[in-house]
Every structure is written in structure tokens, then in C-alpha cells.
Symmetry: C2
């Protein structure tokens, strides 16, 4: 391996000078710089990131913690992250998290190794002690889609999202509205589903509907599981006229179940999802759109800013907007609809051109 002193010897200069050339220090005469560059070229010298890091105390690395096995939305967020990181002088180290044990381990080793200059944590709240440790070590942390104290956070208002979805259904005249979401005490500690459920309950209560526990089902965040839960709902003596699923992935499970039960969507059953993943547009799924890509991009930008400033990032909560995207899986209860033909045609066309 060719080192800086090889270069120095070959160029007939000191090591310090080579280092200065490498770091674009202005204090090098053009002639010397030329000699050094020539030697670098001739030897095909590449500086060692490790050695540089040890000297400077920086890693040139940003860690991204993301449970990308469980949640499809993670990828869209990751795209945003990568885009924001595009020209930054940092490498992206990816930490996947799949199991709870894995999660604790992961965080311990993260804060342990202290191997990153900054940390972007997505969709799962870090243990408070680990978070504290990171902050104590001046490692900037940004949370996306997760809550934690004292660090900047990019969030959506999941409760409001639940309200938006449910309100839409209520406005269409639905009353027997079911909900399918994650287990409230899921092992990884995801909370968005539970918050969305809260919004759902609020709107139903406002509409004067009684609690109907049989219409609320929980299970793993998975299409097949949601599909089975929907089977149960659709087999109910008084089956719901609409389902609000806590995510688009789960909503597709509901669509499958409806198909299996011989129900036509939206005539016999309205379905609303949440997230607006790529698939949803194609499927014509009515859903609550959240800016997944933007959330990753913004989170990474906050982190980069903090890194550039050298100051710990301000613990601001950034609330990304939500909006209902009405497509082809919702309609007035009973299938009646003002100007059904026009409506239907338009909806179809809209979806097909996108």
C-alpha cells in the first residue's frame, strides 16, 4: 500500500506538504503542488479514509436506521435520503432493523462504535438511554416518523390523518366503518397506526357513532395478515360498508379480501388507505397522501445542516402536510353517486394516465 510518505519521498517534499495538497490548502506554491500531484498520479496513491478519520476525529459517514423489511414506505423515504446526501461528503451506512432484540442491539452498537458522524433514525423510536448517550457524545440525531426528546423530528400528524380518512368516509354517508391496523403493542414500537386509529375513533364519535369494537382489528403490518382480518370483517353479520386501513399495504390486503368475497369496490365496499405508496396510484386506491420522499430528504438535510454548523440541531418538529387523494376505491354508501358515469370515467382516466 502506497502511503503519504511514499508520495512525499518521490516528490522530494515533506509529508506535511503532501497533506496540504490533498486538502487544498492555499499555502502551497504552484510548483510544489505540481510535483506532488505528479507523484500521486505516478504512484496511484489513494489516501486512507481510516487514517484521515483517526486524525480528524470525523468519520465521513452518516448512519441511517431503517426497518426496511417490514415497511414498504421505508424505500421511498430512503430515496429521499439518498437524494439529499447526493453531493455531501458522507457515506451512507445502512442499518436495517427487523426484530426487537435486533433493535436494541443495533442501537447499542451504533452508539457504541460511535462510527458515524450523524444518525438518521426512521420509523422507530430509539431507546431514551441510547438517545441520551448519542446526544452526550455530540452525535447529531434526526428522527423521521418517530418521536423522541430533544432532537429534531420530521413527522406527520397521524391522528389528523386518521381523521381525514375517516371524515372522507363519513361524508360519503358511511357509518359502519371498520379499521385495520398494526398491533398497538407491536414489538418494534411503531406508533403511527395507533395514532391513525385515534383519529378514526374521534371522527366516529363526533358523528355520533357508538363504539363497535368488532369493527376494529389489529395484526402485523403485512398484506396477508390484513387480508385475513378483512375476511373476518366481511363475514360479520352486519358487515362494514367501508374500511380504513392504517397503511396502503394493509389496504391492498383488504382489496384482496373483497375480491375473494365477491364484493365490488367501491360499490359494495369503500376502502381508504394511508401513505400513498407508488403502487397506490396505479391501483386507484383512495388514500391519505404523505410525503414519504420529502420526509427522508428533509431529515437528511437537517442532519447535514447540523453537521455543517457544528451545532447540535435545534429540536424542531417539522410537520409534513397530509392530503386525501380520492381515487377509485371510495364512493357514497350503497354505491349511489352523483353523476356516476362521469365520475367513474374521470376517475378511471385520471388513474390510467398517471
Amino acid at each position: 500500500m502506497v502511503t503519504i510518505s511514499d508520495v512525499a519521498r518521490r516528490a522530494g517534499v515533506g509529508e506535511g506538504t503532501v497533506s496540504r495538497v490533498l486538502n487544498d490548502s492555499p499555502k502551497v506554491s504552484p510548483a510544489t503542488r505540481g510535483k506532488v500531484l505528479e507523484a500521486i498520479d505516478a504512484l496511484d496513491y489513494r489516501p486512507s479514509a481510516l487514517a484521515r478519520g483517526l486524525s480528524t476525529g470525523r468519520f465521513s459517514t452518516i448512519g441511517v436506521v431503517i426497518p426496511f423489511f417490514t415497511h414498504a414506505s421505508a424505500f421511498e423515504r430512503l430515496r429521499g435520503v439518498a437524494a439529499a446526501l447526493h453531493d455531501a461528503p458522507y457515506d451512507l451506512v445502512l442499518f436495517n432493523v427487523e426484530s426487537p432484540i435486533h433493535r436494541a442491539e443495533q442501537f447499542a452498537s451504533l452508539t457504541g462504535r460511535a462510527g458515524t458522524d450523524g444518525l438518521l433514525v426512521m420509523s422507530l423510536p430509539p431507546p431514551a438511554t441510547e438517545l441520551a448517550r448519542l446526544v452526550a457524545r455530540d452525535v447529531p440525531v434526526v428522527l423521521v416518523d418517530a418521536r423522541g426528546d430533544g432532537v429534531p423530528t420530521v413527522l406527520i400528524d397521524d391522528v389528523e390523518g386518521g381523521r381525514i380518512a375517516t371524515r372522507h368516509l363519513v361524508e360519503l354517508g358511511h357509518r359502519r366503518i371498520a379499521f385495520i391496523g398494526d398491533d398497538p403493542d407491536n414489538a418494534l414500537g411503531f406508533t403511527s397506526s395507533t395514532h391513525r386509529e385515534r383519529g378514526y375513533r374521534e371522527v366516529l364519535a363526533e358523528a355520533g357513532e357508538p363504539d363497535r369494537p368488532e369493527l376494529v382489528r389489529h395484526g402485523a403490518h403485512d398484506r396477508a395478515v390484513a387480508s385475513r382480518l378483512a375476511d373476518e370483517l366481511l363475514a360479520l353479520p352486519e358487515r362494514p360498508t367501508a374500511v380504513f386501513a392504517a397503511s396502503d399495504v394493509q389496504a391492498t390486503g383488504v382489496l384482496e379480501a373483497a375480491r375473494r368475497a365477491g364484493l365490488e369496490v367501491p360499490r359494495d365496499l369503500s376502502v381508504v388507505g394511508f401513505d400513498d405508496i407508488e403502487l397506490s396510484e396505479y391501483l386507484g386506491l383512495t388514500t391519505v397522501h404523505q410525503r414519504l420522499y420529502d420526509s427522508g430528504e428533509l431529515g437528511m438535510r437537517l442532519l447535514l445542516d447540523a453537521l455543517a454548523d457544528g451545532t447540535p440541531p435545534a429540536p424542531v418538529v417539522h410537520d409534513l402536510p397530509l392530503r386525501l387523494v380520492e381515487r377509485r376505491t371510495t364512493c357514497p354508501v350503497g354505491g349511489a353517486r352523483p353523476g356516476p358515469t362521469a365520475r367513474r370515467r374521470r376517475a378511471t382516466k385520471g388513474a390510467s394516465t398517471t
Copy 2:
């Protein structure tokens, strides 16, 4: 920052001993080990990965080069990669590649920094010079879905895949079969689409069909683009009865175009895709299944094995099997089919919920 010498002092031992404890050397007495562990605990000491790396010459890092903005299939591969890496003592450094300039840069900086112990390159062939440089530096490289000399490779037989898809259509009686794929001279150098096209041509030639250049269209790997290309095909005076799309993403574009043109799939138009991404099962898309997840997993395993052996990995080409998955977007030409009613009902239903 607390260092190894702090620990040594506190435990009343030498630095070497602390290091031995950290690395589970058997040559430490239980009593000493206890003292050291206690000191580590008391000081909340965490070893610096950087310093360790500098000493050992290892990075504990594996680089994964993956163009995950352009290709949806990349994520499924990444899942496999992450799974294989799960318990390995390496971090995953992700290098996204989106533009050609970006690509050259990326590789230069990769080989440059020499910041990874091994490199997994997906879907795009690395420049030969950079590959050579890596090999020269004893950095093991594994290619997945890309070709290169002298390094192990995980591949599928894209030409055969093209044959499988086209043969299926020919067997259903189709003759006017169109193809939609990537630009053969696309900037990033993807070749799979071109190979699939070759298989398509071969089978058509065997079937005695003349070349019909107007039935072959190229464009960016993108649903919207594929959709426009399909519009053109469907507007042809003699429109094709079937389309083979080089990927499922492009196939969904074709389905959109068919919907827009008022054609019913598969009665009026058969569509075959390639990849079998998650979406495809849900959509009922007939496609050529390739084991994306497995490809990532296998690639990473090869790399880990090479790293464990310390030997450069054998330049073996691993050929993953392909198989046609017949779903609901293909049928005999003209829509005739044994047991058409049952078939049709199922197909229609699928389409309506999607």
C-alpha cells in the same frame, strides 16, 4: 473521549491487556478480565472503530453499489443483501448511482478511498479499469446482475428469459408480439433488457415470423415512458395481440395504455412482464419470475465467504433459475380459451379491484 489507556489505568493493567479482553483473547486470566470489564463498564468505554481499522487494516465495512432510483427490483435485491449480512461483522455502506457521471465518480471514489473490505456491485457493469484496480488491491468484488471479468457473478440468463416469455405467447397462438424495453445504449450500461430482447427475437425467428421493427420500442426504464410507447403500439394499423415488456415496471405501463385504449386484458391484449416484483402478484401479471431476493443474498454470501477465507473469490458464474408465472394477463390469441367463463370472471375481477 475515553480511550483504551484510560481503561488500562483505571483497571491497573496495561493497554495490551485491555485490547486482549476486547478481542476475546484466551490469554487473559479471569481475574484480570473481570477488572478490565468493570473498568470498561464504569467508564462507558467504546472502542473506536477507526483506530481499530487503522491498526488491523480492515474496515468492517462492505460497499453495495446499487442504482436504486431507476430500478424497483433493486430493493428486493437489497433485502436479500441485508438478510445475508445480518449477523456478519460488517456494516453496509450504500452507494446509490443515478447518472453516468455519477457512476464513474462513484467507482473512482470507491476504489479510491479503499474504504470497504469488499464490494457488491449490482445491475451495472463496473468500468474494467476500476475493476482491475480493486482486484489489484485485493478487494473482493462480487457482481450481481452484471458482467465483468475475473470476479464471481450472480446472473440470470436474460436471453433465455426472453425466450421463455415469448415462447409462452407463441404457444398461445400469438404472432404479432411487440416488445418494449430499455434503450440498448442507455447511459448506465444496463444490458438485461437487450438480452431479453434477443431471446424474443430468436423465438420469433424460430416461429418463422418476419422482423417487424415497428413492433419493437425502446425507452427509459419507467412506467410512464413504457406507457407512451405502448400507446404507439396500440395505435398501429395492425396492432399487436401481445406485448412482452422487459420488466414488470414497464409491463404495468402497458396495462395502463391498454386500459386507456379501452382494451381488455388479456382478451384483447396479452401482456408478459419480467422480474416478478411484489406488485406483480397482486396485479395478476403474467411474468418471468427471477429470484431477486436470492440474488442479493447469494451475492453477499459469496462476498462474505471470500472475506472469511481471505482468498479472492473464485470467479464462478452463478446462474439463477427463471420460470414463467402464468397469471391473468395472458390468454390464447383472440381471447378464446378452454373454460373461458371461469377464467374470464377471475381475470375481470382482478382487474376491477386493481
